[in-house]
């Protein structure tokens, strides 16, 4: 019997479950390594060489190099781990979250100040807005 995953129809949302975690293990552990200042320095000096030390897929490495967080998440990344890349780049959590929405940094910040993204039309995939 397959597992019940009732969260696959939530729009614009990837739930980091055991399957995603398995797929993203090395990607997330690479992110974790950036908690150490010496590793941040080595990564910044040569990103490609540092990534090649990890048994990640080529797609995962490219998504990191592109700083494409949506792609990283689709490949098993989790935002709390990916945040270590943002910290290495000197980005805030708001800048990172905003980068996944297709909005500019300013547009995203304004949306939050005005009360955030509305739940209306955002509960189910394909729902009328």
């Amino acid at each position: 019997m397959s597992l019940d995953k009732p969260y696959t129809d939530v729009p614009g949302t990837t739930i980091f479950d055991a399957d995603m975690s398995r797929m993203g293990y090395h990607l997330n552990q690479f992110c974790m390594s950036l908690m150490k200042a010496e590793n941040r320095a080595r990564f910044k000096a040569n990103e490609r060489a540092y990534l090649d030390e990890w048994p990640m897929t080529e797609e995962q490495k490219q998504a990191v190099l592109d700083r494409d967080l949506n792609r990283c998440i689709a490949l098993g990344g989790n935002i709390y781990f990916l945040a270590k890349i943002g910290a290495t780049d000197g980005k805030s959590f708001q800048q990172m979250a905003g980068s996944m929405t297709g909005m500019s940094e300013e547009q995203y910040r304004d949306m939050m100040v005005k009360g955030g993204r509305s739940i209306e039309g955002n509960r189910y995939t394909g729902e009328k807005k």
Partner: protein, 284 residues
């Protein structure tokens, strides 16, 4: 015997810690957030808790994907503020209460909750931001803290029901401890927020306030809300709110005692990506 005098609930947004540490609390953006905690700071000075049992979650700081404990109790003598990639927060180290923590671990495990016992752990903003909000910027935290970490990073997280029942077991453990300690239990995280994907920035004011209403008056009913409702209505990271049910389950009224007094309730949008909620319930 030890007793639980009150429960405190609060969000833990990392940007709040940064605003405090960088001296931005007076800015127009942050002022309303911090004003919401003026009451708590004064109230804590009067309450003088001996120990705080602090339910929080780690954000890929102490626990990587190498180990993912669902419930982990800190039994160490002290805990250092973690470097989450921006350098450690300039806040005091956290002093534990190993004797009470060990007592709780033994009691709660015998009540069928299989806790992981942690003797070495750095604590991230999930723990230190609530301390800063409620105790202010101090040279030393006013009392020992027992950190209790809940996995809310990798799905499935524990259910609201499981958390609520765990709170009851923690209460039973604390009330059977042989020193007359005034213990507070805090539930932290939330409220609605989503930090990932095209739906990032989601806030649901109505659902958050329903959660606060029910946490006060119908925690039993609230504990039956399934995961999917948190995810859909409060955002993928809003699921942190299950941790509030641990603290609520430890209150007197759901264990045969009297209804608690609501001493303070606060709600504000936004702090960075997040809705900030804060509640204080006092046992009678």
């Amino acid at each position: 015997m030890a007793h639980i005098s009150a429960s405190v609930y609060t969000s833990h947004v990392p940007a709040i810690g940064a605003a405090l540490d960088l001296g931005k609390t007076g800015e127009d953006y942050w002022k309303p957030v911090f004003q919401g905690y003026d009451f708590a700071k004064q109230w804590e000075k009067e309450q003088k808790p001996d120990v705080v049992f602090l339910v929080f979650n780690d954000h890929a700081t102490a626990f990587s994907l190498e180990m993912i404990p669902t419930f982990a109790i800190g039994t160490a003598a002290e805990y250092q503020p973690a470097d989450e990639g921006w350098g450690p927060r300039p806040v005091p180290k956290v002093i534990g209460h190993p004797r009470l923590a060990a007592h709780i671990a033994q009691s709660v495990i015998q009540d069928d909750f299989d806790l992981t016992i942690v003797n070495k752990m750095d604590v991230d903003h999930g723990l230190t931001v609530p301390l800063s909000l409620v105790f202010g910027q101090v040279d030393a935290w006013p009392c020992p803290i027992i950190p209790f970490a809940v996995n809310v990073v990798q799905y499935p997280v524990p259910s609201g029901r499981r958390c609520f029942m765990l709170g009851k077991a923690i209460r039973k453990a604390i009330e059977s401890y042989d020193e007359p300690l005034n213990v507070q239990i805090w539930g932290t995280g939330g409220m609605s927020h989503q930090l990932q994907g095209p739906r990032a920035g989601l806030i649901n004011r109505e659902w958050d306030n329903m959660f606060l209403d029910k946490l006060i008056s119908d925690p039993e009913g609230l504990s039956k809300v399934p995961h999917i409702e948190y995810v859909r209505e409060a955002g993928s990271e809003g699921i942190e709110l299950v941790m509030w049910l641990i603290a609520r389950g430890a209150m007197s009224d759901v264990n045969g005692g009297k209804t608690p007094t609501v001493r303070h309730r606060f709600y504000h949008v936004p702090a960075s990506n997040t809705a900030v909620g804060h509640l204080i319930l006092e046992n009678n």
